[in-house]
Amino acid sequence: MAIVLDLLVQFGQMFLVLALAPLLTGFVRKVKAHLLRRQGPPLVQPYRDLLRLLRKEVVLAHTASWVFRAAPYLIFATTWVAAALVPTFATGLIFSYAADMIAIVALLGSARFMLALAGLDIGTSFGGIGSSREMMIASLAEPAMLMVTFTLSLLAGSTQLSSIAAFMQGSAVGLRVSLALALVGLVMVAIAENARIPVDNPATHLELTMVHEAMILEYSGRHLAVIEAAAFLKLLLYVSIIACVFFPWGIAVSGQGLAAYLGGVGVYVLKLAVGGFLLAVFETAIAKMRVFRVPDFLGAALMLGFLAALLLFVTKAG
């Protein structure tokens, strides 16, 4: 009976993230529009887009192979599984013991691999450019993310996100410069991975700047809907990781009962709103950088991760 309840809560979390993901993207767009003194689309616009795309027919290029057709579902599945592993409103859910933060990085890496393959599959030059740029970004963003993971695990003694969140809630953390470095590094990685403004512009199809949009240019209909949903989920996943590791307050612990879970959901939605608001403000305040500056930006994230781990090493030895 207990395991059924655990599974129910786990599935509740999976469907909660799926339901909230388009809302978060809609919220970021709305705040950005307001900051530019525009009305902006309504908050539910991403849901409407997804529904409309699902109803439209799929237009496939003659050169498309099975990779092109299979990729959207695989990307969505891996991203969703990764999102199921992150503690959102409660730690210690049943799936979170199956995999740690390194597994989440690996799942997102395989999603990216399939997206790049799909970009190359049709054989258009746009897709190729997008894939090669995505791989350039990934080759620096992934090690940076791993360095942040190692920093956190040195500190908490575990790579499990639930254990890290539990450690961060305790009083043993103290004042650590490494944590600040890891937070800044993780935020930079999140911005690059989600194709947000200094790295890529999610709102344009200008060929000089686009990375993510270039790879999915040939998709239409339900394939496009699934890829878009995966992109929304990825943004939510990164905000959730940052929230649960660095701001774990108000998160429920598994087995505390319905009231604690509901409180956790409320706090989680609040955290997402704050994260989305900060992202929108940041994106409005900063200009898109040249593609060839991106390695410097991500190199700085990687360096912050390294430095955080090294500083922690000194403290441990001292």
């Binding site: 103290g174 004042l175 650590r176 410069v177 490494s178 470095l181 390695p295 410097d296 190199g299 700085a300 360096m303 390294f306 430095l307 090294l310 500083l311 090493f313 000194v314 403290t315 030895a317 001292g318």
Partner: protein
């Protein structure tokens, strides 16, 4: 010494290493001078905090000297030099910023690897300070060899001096006389270097030290 006091000392010393990296990352002259002022501010906060936890009042004077001279006087003088030379956008790194940062990471790892074993008997605070101070010194040297512009080399030189202050503070303080004479020699060095910069410019129409190599007849 309680844990929080140690954590704050760690925060300032680690912050100094971070600001050294920010110096390497800058690609504008004005930004470089501003980050150098931040470097001096962090070192003086670090020294002041250690004066507090070591109960060593003379270190407050060291902190005050570092703050006044290196966070205000020298950056303002450098800003004036930059404006008069008209070089506020030039940095001219010898190799790319990315490679310089990677080399910097290697140097920090090296200094931690060297310092932790040989200071095994010392207290926690002194060990951390020495490891971080060696990193700051090596990063300053890296900055001096990886930049062509003479003004960036001056800033690299001054950041080395900040690292030395951190090392001296961790080793239960240094005599005040030494600190005052070091501060004045830094000021004198700034004046000499300032005069020297204008002489180089007069002679070669540039502050790129590359031209000096050619003048000496060395092949670049």
């Amino acid at each position: 010494m309680d844990q929080l006091a140690l954590d704050v000392a760690h925060l300032f010393a680690g912050g100094l290493v971070l600001v050294s990296f920010m110096l390497l990352y800058q690609d504008r002259m004005t930004g470089l001078v501003n980050v150098f002022a931040l470097h001096a501010l962090v070192v003086s906060s670090s020294v002041a905090w250690q004066a507090n936890i070591q109960q060593a009042p003379h270190l407050y004077i060291t902190a005050a000297i570092a703050l006044a001279v290196k966070a205000f006087v020298i950056p303002m003088a450098l800003h004036r030099i930059i404006v008069r030379l008209g070089i506020h956008r030039e940095i001219d790194p010898v190799v790319g910023i990315g490679q310089t940062m990677l080399a910097g990471i290697g140097l920090v790892a090296l200094s931690i690897m060297v310092m932790l074993p040989i200071t095994a008997q010392a207290g926690t605070l002194a060990r951390e300070d020495l490891a971080f101070a060696l990193s700051v010194v090596l990063l300053g040297l890296l900055m001096m060899i990886s930049r062509r512009n003479a003004v960036s080399q001056v800033i690299g030189f001054m950041s080395i001096e900040n690292g030395l202050i951190l090392a001296a503070t961790g080793a239960k303080g240094m005599p005040l006389v030494v600190e005052i004479s070091v501060a004045f020699s830094i000021l004198v060095a700034l004046i000499v270097i300032g005069v020297f910069l204008f002489r180089i410019r007069e002679r070669f129409d540039s502050v790129d030290i590359h031209t000096l190599h050619e003048h000496r007849g060395e092949q670049p």
